[in-house]
Symmetry: C2
Subunit: 222 residues, 2 copies
């Protein structure tokens, strides 16, 4: 089982775009497709990823880069499923950086088993603002939006919703217990990002998990 | 009804502590107690505030400063309850600042009706990382933690939980529908911040709303 923790020590904010391009070239050379997965805290990124791994990704060999301010709770969960995972902690930055940037991801590349994977999933720090502003070398962006957060989030955090190719609208098993109108949430997503693919999911009930796993496998095979 | 929108144009990150102290001196001179309310996106800050206003804050005259990346959805909700509210939008900052800082709040002070209020509640941008790093001139900090976000959030975002005097554990009406153990969440909060006052709340069912409104009124009367 491949698992390493990397601590980010340097100020990594300069020249983000340049470094993101260099990362992407490295990933392309290795034949690895890369997705950057983002959400608010507790929207269910890790749980959805666990369900996709359990559902199976076909021939796709997955690797995961876990971004967190502190700790390795999520990396531990993924490692438990025998997927190679590298932990990036952002807490040595300015009180804890609220996002991953290209330079942080670059510092992790030597630890990633690129020759042994087809798809690298980067799980970003839970935050709906800054992660959208920093490309890290990804080919596509995924965000997870929990229905428990309310219908208005696409309107309040439009850059995040606009910058993603795939949006998983998660925790829909909770809808009967919320004052949230799914159709209105989907309409708000459509308003800010009409081009996004949207999958309605529940890591708890399993709804949409196969479609989400299929999306990942197809993306890796492109 | 007092309602103004302010757009933050300058780079406001320097000398945050100095400016926070200046803000606090201005608030003290005006006899206004100030709380900084923080949470992840969609944890229910605005809904809890609406419930407290409806429950009544005794003699306390409340004013609200709403921080958002874009839009004025929350300010509109508060203004509807006849509470003076000022909107601060952070989007002219670097792609949208993910937090309020002391200088942004300072730019709003001339718009606040300080002579007519006893308590100023500053609703920060939804984010569990950076808002904890920037004091804005507050006397106390409140955070709202939705049980739908999971038990592990105090361990993943310890600075936020540690920096608050009051923690509202919200949306507890959802507990029967979640794989979340309230006792474990409370124990995790206790681990990172044993000194915090914790109130278990639901804006939907009304649980804990009176205790929360009482906390605000007592704080303003101190």
């Amino acid at each position: 089982m491949h698992r390493t923790r990397i601590r980010v020590a340097e100020d990594a904010l300069d020249a983000n775009e340049t470094i993101a391009r260099a990362n992407r070239e490295d990933f392309e050379r290795a034949g690895v497709a890369v997705v950057n997965m983002m959400s608010a805290p507790g929207a269910g990124k890790t749980a959805l990823l666990e369900r996709a791994i359990e559902a199976g990704l076909g021939e796709t060999r997955l690797g995961v880069l876990e971004g967190d301010v502190q700790g390795s709770l999520d990396a531990d969960r993924i490692a438990h499923l025998h997927v190679p995972v590298v932990q990036l902690n952002t807490d040595p930055g300015f009180g804890g950086e609220c996002h991953l940037d290209a330079n942080m991801v670059r510092s992790a590349i030597p630890e990633l088993p690129l020759a042994e994977i087809d798809l690298l999933l980067i799980e970003n720090v839970g935050n709906l603002v800054c992660p959208a502003e920093f490309r890290v070398g990804e080919d596509a962006r995924i965000m997870v939006c929990s229905v428990a957060e309310g219908e208005d989030k696409p309107l309040k955090y439009p850059l995040m919703f606009r910058s993603c190719e795939l949006i998983c609208v998660n925790k829909v098993d909770l809808l009967p217990h919320l004052d949230v109108d799914l159709e209105r949430l989907l309409a708000n997503i459509e308003t800010v990002n009409p081009d996004a693919t949207v999958i309605v999911t529940s890591a708890r009930s399993g709804e949409g998990v196969e479609a989400w796993a299929r999306w990942l496998a197809s993306f890796a095979a492109e």
